[in-house]
Amino acid sequence: MITFMNNSDSEEEPCNERTSLMSAESPPVPSYQDGLQASEAGEAQAHRKRRAGSGRSPNNIAGGEMSGSGVPVRESALENEEEELTLKYGAKHVIMLFVPVTLCMIVVVATIKSVRFYTEKNGQLIYTPFSEDTPSVGQRLLNSVLNTIIMISVIIVMTVFLVLLYKYRCYKFIHGWLILSSLMLLFLFTYIYLGEVLKTYNVAMDYPTLFLVIWNFGAVGMICIHWKGPLQLQQAYLIMISALMALVFIKYLPEWSAWVILGAISIYDLMAVLCPKGPLRMLVETAQERNEPIFPALIYSSAMMWTVGMAKPDTAARGPSQPTWDAAEDGREHHRSPSHTDSQMSETRSPVPSRPITLEELEEEERGVKLGLGDFIFYSVLVGKAAATASGDWNTTLACFVAILIGLCLTLLLLAVFKKALPALPISITFGLIFYFSTDNLVRPFMDTLASHQLYI
């Protein structure tokens, strides 16, 4: 199976995913990109417009429509060459995405398995008000569905809010929101996490040291994510915060609600990205029109955006998930819920588009792929839940892991074919869910019986 990275139509077709709080500050990145864009403005413009044009119709195959007449021929030639180049590097991009997703999942699974705190039920988010401790199955199901509806509507409201803010150029507000949420994530969650890990391993740490460590961690994180920093460090931080966010979700979402939410999120993702009036799509198109990158901090990017003579940073936006709603957090702060996490929770869904950056063939290849942080979070939630709740333990976890990776491969393949923003969640989550339930119920008894007789298949 080969997956290809495609040039995406718009520069920013964010596949918004619920990402964690971090929203990247646009300024540093746009300045890079703007500079680069200015240098190759003309052709890029035409190309982008063409791409944008093609992006707008849902079933556009790469390079389908030529809206501009100016450079169609050259563009198609370019297109072909770029396509080949893209395809050649397709496998590399897939691996560039595999590695962070794998790392995030490993961190989450390791934490779940070792730290007790994240599997205890200590209350619920205020976004999921209905409890699941009801005696009857029907009631429980009803409650989880209601929880899901509430959660999804919160997400939709937040997404629309963010899109409106973006449309009306309230950049300061958005940035402030994102900074606040990333602050909270970096400091508070890390503090809780570190506290729990230290408790588990019975390591004592005094407050001054703790303060120093967390302060350093948080400060460097803020700088790295919102401003400039070494790429690997930024990637590491993004993975960390995705893992933290996923852990919080795993802890605070009740069982059945979590699964229903995962399913509903994929459907929402699908619709929000592909429907013409979907909020994420509008976000992408708006960003496209303005030639701006979408909040880089909400996106995991696997390569630097700056490259000498970089051509248009095409982005094949991958799956959008729910946008991060730092804004929601702000709203929350007004009514402090008993547990801090509540306020922070669902707020942070950042739209994280993933896009490969493609370069002109003559220039140095520096392709990168971008994936929304929300994608990371939800993949990790799936695998973490599998690790936490499945009685077949590692088999189920492993099965879900492979399923998610294969879903990612397939999505990237589709991306290569369609060359526009695609949701990263649906395929992977569907596979993951199928494999989780089937492995837990079907494969586990089989393997257990085999193992007890020491038979091998």
Partner: protein, 231 residues
């Protein structure tokens, strides 16, 4: 050792990693289907009848083996198509990865997945406190499981090569040989805990398969000698 194989030969090339994961996925799907069948069979039968359960288990194992081989074949078909796609898209008209490499990687994928599923719960339990074989079972449970898993992983790798080679050159006897070998190895595990009956034949078969695969891949006794003498 299998993990070492992975590190040294596969982790470099991203395309191989994708093929590996896809191979693991195919094995997983075959396992899923076979356990589905077994589950249905068990539910439909009387849970108290020991012999019937054992018979069903044996049936499940055999069926699973057949399904695995069927999925290997499907995977082969998929890889053929993929190679054509790769060739069409590459610059100089030849595929960046040959079918033999794919066969090897696919075999490793299958093997890793099956090994992981066989061993990982065991390993997790092994970390905890306890005594091996306290209820009168063999004390060598962990050791033999480890060896058996390793031999199975290697066997999957070799079978992958043999199988693909057979499909390539349309030699049906090679394919049937692989299937028969797989069935034999699984069948021999029925002799557990009489470990002599299962480990020894498995290792012999593995040596045979290794030699066969090596010859098929173009090796020869001369190459081997040169390699060993580090020329």
């Amino acid at each position: 050792p299998a993990f070492g194989l992975f590190l040294f030969t596969i982790a470099r090339d991203p395309l191989r990693i994708i093929i590996l994961i896809a191979g693991a996925f195919f094995w997983l799907v075959s396992l899923l289907l076979s356990s589905l069948i077994w589950f249905i069979a068990v539910k439909a039968s009387d849970p108290r009848d020991e012999r019937l359960q054992k018979g069903l288990l044996i049936f499940g194992v055999m069926f699973s083996v057949l399904l695995q081989e069927a999925f290997r074949f499907l995977y082969y078909k998929l890889l053929r198509k993929a190679i054509e796609g790769l060739v069409a898209l590459s610059e100089d008209g030849c595929s960046p990865i040959s079918i033999q490499q794919m066969a090897y990687v696919a075999g490793v994928g299958f093997g890793l997945m099956s090994g992981a599923f066989s061993m990982i719960n065991l390993l997790a339990d092994a970390l905890g406190p306890g005594t091996v074989g306290i209820h009168g079972d063999s004390q060598l449970y962990f050791l033999t499981s480890a060896f058996m898993t390793m031999v199975l992983i290697f066997l999957h790798t070799f079978w992958g090569i043999l199988f693909f080679h057979g499909c390539e050159h349309r030699r049906w006897w090679e394919i049937t040989a692989v299937v028969v070998m797989h069935l034999t190895v699984s069948g021999s595990s029925f002799c557990n805990p009489l470990y002599v009956g299962s480990l020894v034949p498995s290792y012999l078969l593995m040596a045979a398969a290794a030699a066969w695969a090596y010859l098929l891949s173009g090796g020869s006794a001369q190459n081997l000698r040169r390699f060993l003498l580090c020329k």
